[in-house]
Amino acid sequence: MSDGMPPSASDSPRAAGGARLAASCPPPLYACLHAVSPGHAGTLVQLARDFSPRFECHRDDLVSIDIRGLDRLLGDPGAIGAELRRSAAARGLRLQVAVAATRTAAMVLAHARPGLTVVERSGEAAALAPLPVGLLEQVDPACPVIPALKRWGVRTLGELAALPPAGLAARLGQPGLVWQAMARGQDARPLVPTLPEERFESSADLEWPIEGLEPLSFVLTRLLEPLTIRLERRDRGAAAVHLALDLVKCYDADRRPGAAGGGAHPASDPAVDVVRGGTFTRTLELPAPLRDVRTLRTLLLLDLESHPPPAAIERVTVVIDPTPGRVLQHTLFTRAHPTPEQLSTLIARLTALLGQDRIGRPAIVDSYRPGAFVVQPFPVEHGVASASSASSASLISVLRRCRHPVPARVAVAGGRPVAVTTDRRGFAGGRVRGCAGPWRTSGEWWAGEGPEAGWNRDEWDVSLSDGAIYRIFRDRVTDGWFIDAVVD
């Protein structure tokens, strides 16, 4: 300033403070642990956690630890590495340890050299240079460029590091530059610490036992609100919700699960519905990660409507299994769909109304059995469909199935049906005006005896004088006639 030059950015107090902070911060130092003996993933993570809270678990057998600051406790980098190996040996682990100023260099060296390797600061590229280029495949098995490098005659990491970056990018694109940075021992990204899974649990003791779902809904809201806030802070959603209701000890034995008139029997219910030691538990597997309080509360209440607790509740516990949250990118060009929360709630409501087997999406079965289908769970998340707005000039004639074929009396003349009548209301029947057939189908006769075992039938499509068109069949085993479907 005194020399008349304009002030530079580095002269500002903020920049000066940043420089002081950088000067006071110890330079980065990483240790990479590569387990040679497999099957010790948990032990390796625990070892890393014992030395530093800042560690990243890359694979079950590969962990990077930020060891800066440990020199005041353990000594120089060599001493830290030796201490790591000693601790590992005490836990039955065989490790290859590398200590370097960059995480990438430590990772490559931990794969390449047995025992302990310590690289001087700024010597990472030189330490990596003689190593074979194929090591990159071990560090990252998804590396796609190694065959190309070998065809070019690039054998070592030093040769890869020396290639001109512009030419490399022109031939291999951006990944080529990433691999070159690895060969030079440069970090493409900072260390991302692995955090322990947090337990999302909340419970409330009730001074007075409550009965009925309405008061329980207030308790659930109170428990779920802080849990969902924590989920949001951790960018997590609920994959499953476990509800445990501690019940008052004396309750009517007739309402125990399994008893007549009581709740669902545990063996017949896929969800857990057990009263053990006065605790009634339910588990909701959510089809999509959720963290909306109202949705979670509604789903729990709808489930409890179908499976009510057999006695008054004196303690409520909610445990949530977390899962990474959904990342959604909406576009302007796709149709608005119901959100997963809306669909989950809708399906739960419909299930409570009609039953679980009545809701879903139809799916065709790979079978020749007429009318065969299965109902699968309706997905709550749908991708973008390729829009096809083609119009057609005609329709496909389709069937309405009678799930249980309607017995019919069929008069036959000349090998063809001439009249169809039934005793069922709504199926008046009449004279056959036209017919097509017969079409003989049979199958699954090898599956055994019984009505569901197989089929053997002659099918006809008949147009009757009452205006209806039916698909009828003669069961060749029982010689009975049935209406199978209506052509509509």
Partner: protein, 261 residues
């Protein structure tokens, strides 16, 4: 003073969207905007209906058995899933044939199928438990309240007329109120008109009266051993179209048999 009170009353009614009766003409729909109408995917029908079935309104598709009503509503659902929409079918008496739905072109992954309980007598019959129809209407309300479905169909075509008439008339008004302002096209499929003045568009299906050699109803009566069912001709009559002035329009269509059905 009475004028002021009337203005206040009208503004309140407007705020609650009660400023018109069900028979008041609605604003004309833009046939080219498929956010306003749901095209059926049949060229002749869409042209006659002014783009398709209106969204945000309760429409009806009525007709007797074998009149082509099922073919038509499956085609409407297929067109909706083809546009990437989610659709729902409330199948009151559980008569859907999934193979037919797939043959009609419906993306089954986007079809929410709600199968009604038929308790009293199994199968397709007139002696249906009335609760099946009531439950189906409740399920339809839940689906409409969830919102954002492109097309929702309530199929009570095989239900006895008494079960439909037993439903309170306010049921249809309530459904219409839920639908208003939404992007959902709701279709009631039955043997007779049911929603009465709540219906936005009512289309009646019937077999073509044109006599063909071999019997009634056109090509369906290809008879003889070894011959295949070929399909039939049908006519669609628009019997009411609230606010669209298309009453009396008649469309002739044909159905074709699919080898997958």
């Amino acid at each position: 003073m009475p004028t002021l009170a009337r203005a206040d009353l009208e503004s309140l009614l407007r705020a609650r969207q009660l400023d018109r009766t069900l028979t008041t003409a609605l604003a004309p729909l833009d046939p080219s905007d498929d956010y306003v109408v749901a095209p059926a995917g049949v060229t002749a029908l869409d042209a006659s209906l002014g783009g398709g079935f209106p969204r945000g309104q309760l429409s009806e598709l009525i007709g007797p058995r074998s009149s082509g009503r099922t073919s038509l509503f499956l085609q409407i659902l297929a067109a909706a899933t083809g546009r990437g929409e989610l659709v729902a079918l409330v199948d009151a008496l559980d008569t859907l044939d999934p193979a037919s739905a797939a043959a009609a072109g419906i993306d089954l992954d986007r079809l929410l199928w709600v199968r009604g309980h038929v308790v009293t007598n199994p199968g397709m019959c007139r002696d249906v438990n009335p609760r099946a129809v009531e439950q189906a209407v409740k399920a339809l309300m839940l689906i409409l309240q969830a919102g954002n479905f492109g097309c929702v169909v309530l199929d009570v075509a095989e239900a006895p007329a008494e079960a439909i008439r037993r439903l309170p008339f306010t049921t249809w008004l309530r459904l219409q109120r839920i639908l208003e302002g939404s992007r959902t096209a709701c279709l009631l499929v039955g043997a007779e008109p049911m929603a009465r003045s709540s219906a936005g568009l009512s289309v009646k299906c019937e077999r073509a009266r044109r006599q063909q050699p071999g019997g009634q109803g056109g090509r369906s009566d290809a008879s003889g051993p070894g011959q295949m069912f070929k399909g039939f001709d049908l006519e669609l009559h628009v019997i009411s179209a609230r606010g669209r002035r298309r009453e009396g329009v008649c469309v002739s269509l044909a159905t074709e048999a699919s080898p997958d059905v």
